[in-house]
């Protein structure tokens, strides 16, 4: 297995036709120079995807580089504020921070000038390196800004500032249409994806899955439901506890596990975690876990050990935890919001709910119908295989590259 190429490894998961299609689509792009730029090589969804996307594109014959811009702590404070402002928080950013942001981008532009100037396609991820384009106006290739954030209701003063940079790009990419802002260039839509070979999603042996029962005091003989998410009000962990309490009146052996990471840069995270612990009281069947950010295999094992996965968000971006659970053949009960809505199809791949009562109803319903749970799990895995794996993501990047190189025609016929 270790001697296999990236493409061969994925072929076993997605089928030969999918990989063959990628090879054929990439064939005319062989020799092209593509550069991805973001602000971190470790941690976060963007880095995770690039770790796989870059070797994938390389193996398809496209010269692909991944560059990272670095700055001082004020730079990151500034870009964290950008992130929050794009998501709609009213954040006032001091002029001095903006100066550091622009200076950092200017210095990075000097360092990366040779690589970026000659690249055929440059994909800039998120706001951190967005201002690079201002300092490389004479570039040769096409530049695209990839926004991984829900920008549906940005805090306008900050968005106006960033828009000045974004408008200079040839195109931008958002994850879903409702997340997009109007811009004076084509706004492409590419949904995110999961990597089935990441530790979060890779198949685990029975020993590793069963290991979590003893580790966290979970009874494997009794039903278990799980929500994996940060301790954040938008993820509604208190609503999940309410749903569990309602369902437990009818399923007394029910266990709930809430598993989330620490939020060092989010002061409200600790407040929410305390509220969750208070609501959990001393219920021995309700486990509130605070896991480190790299506990991927533990999360994987918890997902595989649970009977039902919840993602009862009241506001959500795409909701990749839903995708991860579906890939593990779990029925998912999710909040009727954001990208969860395109993943969960009532009675087929899971249930969309609006209230704790709705979640409790679906928990009871599913435990009464084990055959349906199995059927949903099977459908969910196939749905993810077709639509939300990195292979589909890559196909859309390749398609986008053709669109950028060949103009705005609705139909581009490659000879």
């Amino acid at each position: 297995m270790d001697n296999q190429s990236v493409l061969e490894k994925y072929e076993q998961l997605v089928g030969r036709d999918v990989i063959e299609q990628l090879r054929q689509l990439a064939n005319p792009l062989k020799g092209l120079h593509v550069v991805h730029v973001n602000a971190t090589r470790i941690g976060g969804g963007v880095a995770e995807i690039l770790h796989k996307m870059v070797p994938f594109m390389e193996e398809l014959g496209i010269h692909t580089k991944w560059e990272v811009i670095k700055g001082e702590s004020v730079f990151y404070q500034c870009t964290k504020s950008f992130h929050n402002a794009i998501q709609g928080n009213r954040v006032n950013i001091p002029e001095s921070y903006l100066k550091v942001y622009e200076d950092t981008n200017e210095k990075a532009a000097e360092v990366l000038e040779d690589v970026l100037h000659d690249a055929d396609i440059v994909i800039i991820h998120d706001p951190q390196p967005a201002a690079l384009i201002k300092h490389l106006q004479e570039h040769k290739g096409k530049w695209v800004w990839r926004c991984h954030i829900d920008a549906s209701k940005p805090y306008r003063p900050v968005w106006r500032y960033l828009r000045n940079f974004v408008c200079r790009y040839d195109a931008s990419i958002f994850s879903l249409a409702p997340f997009a802002q109007s811009l004076p260039h084509p706004v492409y839509l590419i949904a995110p994806s999961i990597d089935p070979l990441h530790e979060k999603n890779v198949e685990l042996g029975a020993d590793e899955i069963e290991g979590i029962y003893g580790r966290f005091g979970i009874n494997p003989e009794r039903p278990m439901i799980l929500q994996v998410s940060r301790y954040d009000r938008f993820k509604d962990p208190l609503g999940v506890i309410e749903a569990y309490t309602l369902a437990k009146q009818f399923i007394p052996t029910l266990q709930l596990v809430l598993a989330g990471g620490g939020a060092s840069d989010d002061p409200e995270g600790e407040i929410v975690l305390n509220e969750v612990r208070t609501a959990a009281k001393d219920d021995p069947d309700l486990k509130v876990l605070l896991l480190p950010a790299d506990a991927h295999r533990t999360i994987n094992a918890l997902q595989r050990a649970s009977d039902i996965v919840l993602q009862k968000s009241i506001k959500e971006g795409f909701g990749l935890t839903v995708t991860e659970a579906m890939w593990k053949m779990k029925p998912v009960i999710g909040g009727n919001t954001g990208g969860i809505r395109i993943q969960l199809v009532n009675h087929h791949t899971g249930f969309l709910v609006n209230t704790p009562e709705g979640a409790a109803l679906r928990i009871r319903y599913l435990f009464k119908k084990p055959d349906l749970m199995e059927e949903m799990g099977t459908k969910s895995k196939e749905f993810v295989r077709e639509n939300f794996l990195i292979t589909r993501h890559l196909r859309e990047y390749l398609t986008l590259i053709f669109a950028l190189l060949h103009g705005k025609d609705e139909r581009i016929e490659l000879s």
Binding site: R16, D17, V18, E20, Q21, Q24, L25, N27, P28, S152, F174, A177, P178, A180, S182, P186, V187, Y188, L189, I190, A191, T337, I342, V345, H348, T349, F383, E386, N387, F388, R392, R395, E396, L398, T399, L400, F402, A403, K408, D409, E410, R411, I412, E413, L414, S415
Partner: protein
Amino acid sequence: MVRNESATGPFCIKDCALIAIATGERAQNLRELREHLRQIDPGSIYYHFWGGLLRPRFDDPEYHNDFAIWMAHSLHNESLAERLGVIDPVAFESIEDLRNELIETIDESLDETEFPQWTKRDDQFEFIRSQIIVFDTTISVNRPEGLLDIIKTISVGSIFYHFIDARHRNENSLDDFQNWLLGFGDNYALLCQKIKEKSSYFSPLRELKSDLAEVFAGHFRNGQERDG
């Protein structure tokens, strides 16, 4: 007339991939939807009827076009959702005819409505269009029997291109398989008929692919028309 090769030459398998583009146009109620429909790019109407076949979407949806889905799940107007959902785009010669049918269906509903329903801001209808990239797979066949094994291995993008997209592309509104088989004269009239019977807008591409594979397998297994 009996022919040993198609008048159109070998059948070259092509494939296609689609990328979605936000138009920035949004509707929050039925009247806004209608107004946008009057002037929206025809590519957007194409996308909302056929794009679902090539983009992330559950393969067995309740409704097959995005207008009906929005009507049911966002405006909660089930009766209009049913009327929009039953519209079969294959029955229309052009996108403009399809556009008119949509507008008329919505107008009928508006005539019956005192106060058009609204959705939440987060739940608006997003008009999307797409760009389609058509590319060569380097696979070609000279005889219909050659398609037997090929169909099982080609991508759903190829099925979309040769079976769905072709009906808009070709002047005679037939798919590429039938057109190619017609190039053999009358040799494959029965096979063409069987392919035509599979022409449903309401089947997902994986199902169409497996149906077509079955048609070819069944046809040649029974030895029908094999040698023309």
